[in-house]
Every structure is written in structure tokens, then in C-alpha cells.
Symmetry: C2
Subunit: 478 residues, 2 copies
Amino acid sequence: MPVFHKNSARVRDEERARLIWLLTTDKAITSALTGKLTLAEQYDEGRLADDIAEVGALVAHLPAPDLADTLEALPSEERHALWGLVDNDKRGKVLHEASESVWDDLIEGMSDKALIDALEGLDIDEKIYLVQHLPRNLTGRLLTTLPPGERARVRQVMNYQQDSVGAIMEFEVITIRPAVTLGAVQRYLRRLGKMPENTDKLFVTDRNQVLVGELSLQTILLHPASRLVSDMMDSAPVTFHPQEDPEKVARTFERDNLLSAGVVDDAGKLLGRLTIDEIVDVVYEETDNDIRQMSGLSNEEDVFAPIGKAVKTRWAWLAVNLCTAFIASRVIDGFEDTIAKLVALASLMPIVAGIGGNTGNQTITMIVRALALQHIQPGNFSFLILREMGVALINGLVWGGIMGLVTWGLYHDPALGAVMMLAMVLNLLVASLMGVLIPMVMLRLGRDPAVGSSVLITAITDTGGFFIFLGLATLFLI
Amino acid sequence: MPVFHKNSARVRDEERARLIWLLTTDKAITSALTGKLTLAEQYDEGRLADDIAEVGALVAHLPAPDLADTLEALPSEERHALWGLVDNDKRGKVLHEASESVWDDLIEGMSDKALIDALEGLDIDEKIYLVQHLPRNLTGRLLTTLPPGERARVRQVMNYQQDSVGAIMEFEVITIRPAVTLGAVQRYLRRLGKMPENTDKLFVTDRNQVLVGELSLQTILLHPASRLVSDMMDSAPVTFHPQEDPEKVARTFERDNLLSAGVVDDAGKLLGRLTIDEIVDVVYEETDNDIRQMSGLSNEEDVFAPIGKAVKTRWAWLAVNLCTAFIASRVIDGFEDTIAKLVALASLMPIVAGIGGNTGNQTITMIVRALALQHIQPGNFSFLILREMGVALINGLVWGGIMGLVTWGLYHDPALGAVMMLAMVLNLLVASLMGVLIPMVMLRLGRDPAVGSSVLITAITDTGGFFIFLGLATLFLI
């Protein structure tokens, strides 16, 4: 085993795991922390005091992002117990780092005033983010705590749609003028005394706040102080518009290896900046949501949410699934006479449906991913359909052929074998065609192609598989 | 519609789309570019010359990362045609930015020498990455082009496992000594004249190359030149070990909002650094792989790969799926007599199996994600199982109850309705139990819990659903 550096993130990983272990293996800790155990009862438990002291020490030691992660990994009751131990001046930061699935739990017992107080230590961009997203309306209260000059800016940001660049940009930026020297810039920075987090470049603007270039910190450090900003700046920087889609912007950040970028309006005026740390969050959220949505899970579902909440967030897709299953069942019911005459059909039909569902899901996963990566353009659409159907045809002939032979052998019925093979080929073709068409049509309709796509394709390949197989059997075998 | 800044990434998005559209809608362009059309034939086509000129202009104008993306969005033949137009000195960069799924296609027609030449313009870290990952062994050839001093370093990096921090770290770093002033550091930087890409901090080491702290560029710019590095540096930086798992490191980067971090060995000696742009790639790849693997797609599958290759990469999971479907079919076959006596069972059984598959997939998706986020620890394991089974029990009673009533109504048979409900409750319990257990057991066995988990859970809920439903029917109805 490798030995880890004393400041390795690994040490914190272990501390988080220890904290979770303490709280989840000994219920008494949670009971004591939430006041459900009397002092007398606490004394009865031998190691309890030690354990509680250790929990307290870990909470005091772990930084806010680690505490946020720990809270997400706890059931509701333990979450409350731990949250009670977090210092008030750390709470704002923890809330900011925690995902929305735990906010409900955390702010439950806090008054509006206590919440606004907890946000005190955050910078203005973090405050706005939380006030906009927390499941309680605190906008009015926050605005009254701000100096009048900032209120207008905050109101402006709040006007952008939640899933736009405008909503996630930061407006704390350092701007400089093009006609000064690098030396003057450096003197200006020393006077400022600090920079917003993750500043890797300064924005060069004219007197109308129009962005004319960007000057990286590297450039200031690498070149003589006598050089002019206008000579050294990058005068064609990559910029974004507040109405762009953060997921697409994330692709550009990745493609161009950006650390930050300016956000400008239609007139080229600088409104704020995007930083890579926001973008990394966007990437994690995007892919997480894609994975969840494909199987019909809600974004808010949280592994440790209480049972009641989990039932509520999942019931809709279960209902959809039950309806589609019911339709498939009615299709089979329509062929009741056929099945009564040849019971073997009942055991063979799930094979046709199942293999179609598998291929359909593979196809739809690929297409949804390719759409997210912007690899699918109108021009290559027909190629894709033909390719997927070609793959399906070959697989259908090979595996359908094998299955046909097996069926022949098992039931000593060559005609049944032939129907089996034909049904598999046809259902695989349906599966691959629908696997391409469903996400494309959803996109055309302006919907997210990932949402419930797996449920939908399975419904089609099930119903289609039963209908094709039993239909062919009725035509050729009965 | 918003108007976009002239340097918006949106303009390049449009250029990429145009390039793809040109190549995929007019086959003649590809034929002309790959020399399959004679000059005489080319003259016959009116706009062909214009289109080819436009393609050439776009290729010359688009930067390497955009060309890489475009190549990934083209079928094989068009990919070759476009690759032929890419300048030799851009090719290395394009290869480095392209994903591994297209490398095969691109380097197919290139000699080893041409490939090594194409890598010429890349920095040493990029060269090593490509030489290690390209599907052709170029290590020997690359080593001979390097100065002897660098060969040892390259050999060392190549010893790290492909999926470790050591393999993705860069070893171009700037190190400084603690006992100098910020002014001296700045003079040193000006003398160097350049920094490695994405440098946001310098590493402070002692004479044995042991990392003692980090100095951010911001600190140099914000503080007086007379200050000592040792007073201004961060002396407890987050560091990583070359054998750590990049996916876990990515979580730490996200948690701590890091832009770069040092990689140190057991003795604390600085080996290199990780940068956020590598980490963003890791995040995209990780989540992409998770999504693909859950439905049994290979990592190398490429939406535009030729049919033959797609058939080859998918056949294994199809075979697995066919086997599991066959087993489910044999379970049904065992109840042939039961079905013959009550044909309604044949149309109802897919509902029991389907609803189980849906719930199982939702559970397994949540668990796989929670494992990736390190939210599951030994302590909260039993809570998870109980919670998922609780959700399943409630859903089973509610939806099973509804389905039982519907069945009763349809077939005028209350006993059949009761069997339906009981089977749904039991299969949902099996689905949720297995949805938690499968990924946990796979992890315990040291395997990736995402790989094929969806195929596996569906197999269990299908077979289990058929067995439970038909078994109960045999016991109580026949």
C-alpha cells in the first residue's frame, strides 16, 4: 500500500468515512445529539461520551465541502444530528457546497433570520445562488441586507433563467483599461489586495464596459512592467452570452481548456465571468441527471431520503411503466386462442421482447450520448439510422438463427423455429429504428432526450415483440 | 434570439456543423477528396469545386479541438477524407484532442515515421500520453527522438498503471525555493519567459525536491516584492499520490475547487502535477463510461464506427442477454401445464416481470451513482437495504393492489387478482434487494459496479417475476 502525504485528500476521505460510521452504527449518538436521550441515559452508555467527543472533533476539523458530502451520505435523522454540530459561520459554506437533495432537511429547523445570518460569510455570488435555489423564498430578506448599489445587480441576475449561463455566472470580476502598463496593473492589484477566487485572468474593457480583451496573470508575471496591456492582451477571447446553455458551454471549456471566460451581452458589454469550478459542477450534474433520467429517476431523489419522499418522487414513472406493461399484456391477451393452441409460444415470447429491449436500450444510450456531445448533425442522421439497422439485421440473423435452431431442437417444430428467427430479426429492427428516432423526435419537440427514454423504448420493444411473434405464429402456425 | 459576440464559441459550433453537413450530404466531396472521382468527373459537378474550397477553408480555420470533434462526428469514409486535409503540424494536436474511438481510423494510413513527425509540435506530456494510448506501439521510436536526459523520465511515467494519477500527471512544473523573495521569483519567471499551460501556482521544494508548499500566481501579484516565499506560501497544500484513482481525485478537485495540485511520492518528493483540464476529461470519461456500461456498451463503441465493428463490440452482451432470456423462458416452460389450464397467466406475467425490472433498474442506478460519489459507507448499508425494500413494499401494495383489482375486474376471478398482487409485491422486494446487493457485491469483488448491471438486474427480475407469478398461480389457482 502506498503511504500518503500528510495533507493528502485521502486523510479527509478517511475522516468522512469515520464520521459516517460513528453516526450510523451507534444510534445512541444521534439520540444524544438530538436530545432524545436524557443525561442519565447517556451516562449509562460507556463509550458514548468518547464517541460524541470524536464526532465533535471531526466536525470541527473537516472543511465545509467535506461536511456537505458527509451530510449527503447520512439518513435524515443522523443528518439533523450532525447539522446541529456545524458552526454557524461554516453553515453558509456547507449549504453552498451541498446538493439540492439535502437542502430541505438542513434548513427545516432554521428560521429565515438564522438562514440569512448563516449566509453572512459568503460572497455575493454564492448568496444569490443559494437564495435563488433554496426551497424557501428569501429574496426579499436578502435584498434588505444588501447595500442599495448591489440590489439592482442582484435583481438583474435573478431575471436570468435558472438553467442559463446568466444564472451561474459570477459578477465579481477585475477589469482594467487597455492603455495602461503591466506595471500599473500590478500596482493596482497590490492596492486591491485580493482577487475573486479562481481568477486566472483580468478583463480589459473600454470606457463603455465593452470587453476588448483579456490579460492572463501569467502574462503580467512573464513580461516587463513597461509593456502596454493593449499590446499584451488576448484581443479575441472566447466569450459566452448569458442566455447560452451551461451544458454546451461546459463542452467548450473542455474543448479549449479554459479556466474562466467572460460573459458579454449583445452589445459586447462585460456582465460577469464563468469559472471552471462552476463548470465542473455543471458537468457532474449533467451526467448525473442523464443517468438518472434515462431510468426515470427524479433529479431530486436522494439515496438517503426517507421512504415517503422516495415513494413520491418515483410514483409517476412507475405508473407510466405499469400502463405500458398493461398495454403489452392486452396485446398478448388478443392472441389468447393462439397461445391456448400452442403453449410453447408463452415461454418463447419473452425472449423476443427481451432481446429487443436490450438492443433498443443500447442504441438509445448511444444516441443520447452522441446528442449531448453534439456529434449528431442533420447531415449524418440517415447514416445513423442505416447503421443501427444494419447492426440489428446482422445480430438478428445470427442470434435469431441460433435461437431458431434451438427452438426447432427443443420443440421438434421447424416452422416454430422459423417464426422465432423472423420475429427476432423484425423486433431488433424495430428496436434500433426506435432507439434512433425517439431521442431525435424528443429533441425536435424541445424536450430532453434522456428523460425516461429507457422506459419508453422498453415499452415499444415489449409490445412490438409480443405482437410480432404472436402475430407471425397466428399467421403461419395455427 | 440573442446576438452572439464575434468570438463566441457559438460561431465555431456553427462552422463545425457546416463542415459535417457539407461532407455528409454530398458524397461527391468525399469521393473527390479521396481521389475516387477523376478530374473530368469533378468538372461535371457544378458546385463541387465551391464546396471543396469551403471545406478546405473551414479545416484551415477551425482550431485543433474543433477538428477533433468534427472527426468524431463523421462516418469512417468522410473521416478519412477530412483527415487528409488537416495540416501535418496540426495533426498531433488533433490526435491528442480526439477520443480513442477514432484513433484507429485516423492513423490507419500513416506510417510510424509520419506519426512521430505529427507529434513533433506537442509538449512532452502530450507525446507520452499519445504514445501510451495509440493503438500502435511507438514507444521505441519516440524514445529515440528524445534527448537522453528525458528518456529516463518518460520510462518512469510509463511504468504507472494506465488508470492511475501517475499516468495522467504532467511533469512540466515550475519549482522555486522557500528562502527567496517574491521579487526574485518574478525575475526568475521573466527569465523563463513561459509557463506550462494552466499554471496557477508554483511549487516550493527543498533541496531534496521534497514539496514544502505552494505559491499561487495571485499571491505573487498581490503582495510586495520584498516578501519571502516561505512567509507567503500555502504550507499545507492538497497533494496526491501517483497510485491514486483519478476518479476519486476528480471528486477532490470538485470538492476543493482546485485548479492544479502536486503529485508527490511516499517520501513527499514532487513528481509532477495534475491540472483541472485533465480532471475535466476524467469526469467526462467516467460518467460517459458509467452510462455506457450500465447498458452493456463497450467504451470503444463509436456512433460512427462501421457496422462490422459495432457488431463485434456488442455481441458479448447480446449473448449474455440471450442466455438470461433463455433461462427465463425455461422457467415459463416448466409451468406449461399451468398456463395451458389458465391462458390468462400468459398475458399477465410480463406485467409482474416488467414492473420488477423498472424498480430494479431505478434502485441499481441510484446505488451505482451513490457509490461513485462515495456516499455509501459500511455504516449506512443496512439503512439503504431497508429503505429500498420499504419503498418497494409500499409501491408493491399500492400498484399491486390496483393491478389486482384490474385483473379481478377483467377476468372476474378474485383469486387471480390476489395472486397478481402478491406476485407484484414479492417481485418488487426481490428487485430492490438485488438492486442494492448486486453493485455492492461487485464492488466487494473488486469489479466496476456499473458494468452490465442493468442487464443483470433485468435478468433476475424477469426470471424471478415469472417464477413467483406462475409458482403462486400453480399453488393457489390450479
